[in-house]
């Protein structure tokens, strides 16, 4: 059995319209989760709706990457909790890490970084791609919604 199949078997509950998934702070687990979610979204025909799958994948990718790098400081054993609620009109995602949060108001007050800057785009991308963005736990949880 492939590594990917093992990972998918380990995925927790998908109950009706809500997915609750916990992963380690690992880029390989992030990639496998994103692959699983994209397939799940396609099964739900989200790919009939223009850029919806691309945008959701990118927003989740950026949120989980921030959780790994900045929230959990790349400590693999630290967990990331992902919750996705699917309703007829919207998709609501939450990504929570075990860190102390960050000054999200300062980040959101910026425009896209200097053209030649090699970093600083993650949260701003989520803000641009999604219809709403909020934070919990002083920044250790990021919550975003996309209307369908």
């Amino acid at each position: 059995m492939s590594e990917s199949s093992n990972f998918l078997q380990s995925l927790p509950f998908i109950e009706k319209n809500e997915l609750n998934i916990t992963i380690n702070s690992s880029y390989s687990e992030k990639r496998k989760l994103l692959e699983f979610l994209v397939n799940h979204f396609k099964l739900l025909h989200f790919d009939d709706e223009g850029s919806l799958v691309f945008n959701l994948k990118l927003a989740l990718d950026e949120a989980i990457t921030n959780a790994i790098m900045h929230g959990n400081k790349k400590i693999e054993q630290k967990k990331i909790y992902i919750k996705i609620l699917l309703t007829r009109k919207r998709i609501r995602c939450s990504v929570k890490d075990e860190g102390e949060g960050f000054d999200y108001e300062q980040v959101l007050s910026r425009s896209f970084p200097d053209l030649m800057s090699e970093s600083g785009r993650g949260i701003l991308l989520i803000n641009k791609l999604m219809d709403s963005l909020s934070f919990g736990g002083r920044g250790s949880e990021i919550i975003f919604e996309k209307l369908k």
């Binding site: 880029y27 990639r31 850029s51 691309f54 945008n55 994948k57 990118l58 990718d61 950026e62 990457t65 896209f112 053209l115 030649m116 800057s117 090699e118 970093s119 785009r121 993650g122 991308l125 641009k128």
Partner: protein, 110 residues
């Protein structure tokens, strides 16, 4: 991400296929680094089959762009898929990258 490269005249065409994140972009950065060291100054990225990119992938592209420019070279992009073109637009990267809709046009503009 799969990477293939070929020479057309004095332009190196690099064909990207799949998804570009920070990790997947490392072989691309290594390839461009070697090309620049060998004196190649015209590089074209064919993105027809590039289906996804995150901010780490964008960061790598900016690093590659800087490397080429610092060595007095030129980098062009061709055939971006709509989602990635949109991403370049709202992050303002389309203001620094030279982007073309077809290969002939891009090759003719070096």
């Amino acid at each position: 991400m799969e990477i293939e490269n070929r020479r057309e005249g004095d332009v190196e065409i690099i064909v990207l296929e799949g998804e570009m994140d920070g990790e997947h972009a490392i072989p691309l950065r290594n390839l461009v680094d070697n090309l620049v060291k060998d004196g190649t100054d015209k590089i074209l990225l064919d993105c027809s089959d590039l289906t996804y990119m995150n901010s780490a992938g964008m960061r790598e592209l900016i690093a590659i762009y800087k490397l080429i420019i610092q060595n007095n070279g030129s980098l062009k992009f061709v055939n971006l898929q709509d989602d990635i073109k949109e991403l370049f637009n709202f992050t303002n990267l389309s203001n620094i990258f030279s982007i073309y809709d077809n290969l002939e046009q891009a090759l003719g503009d070096f």
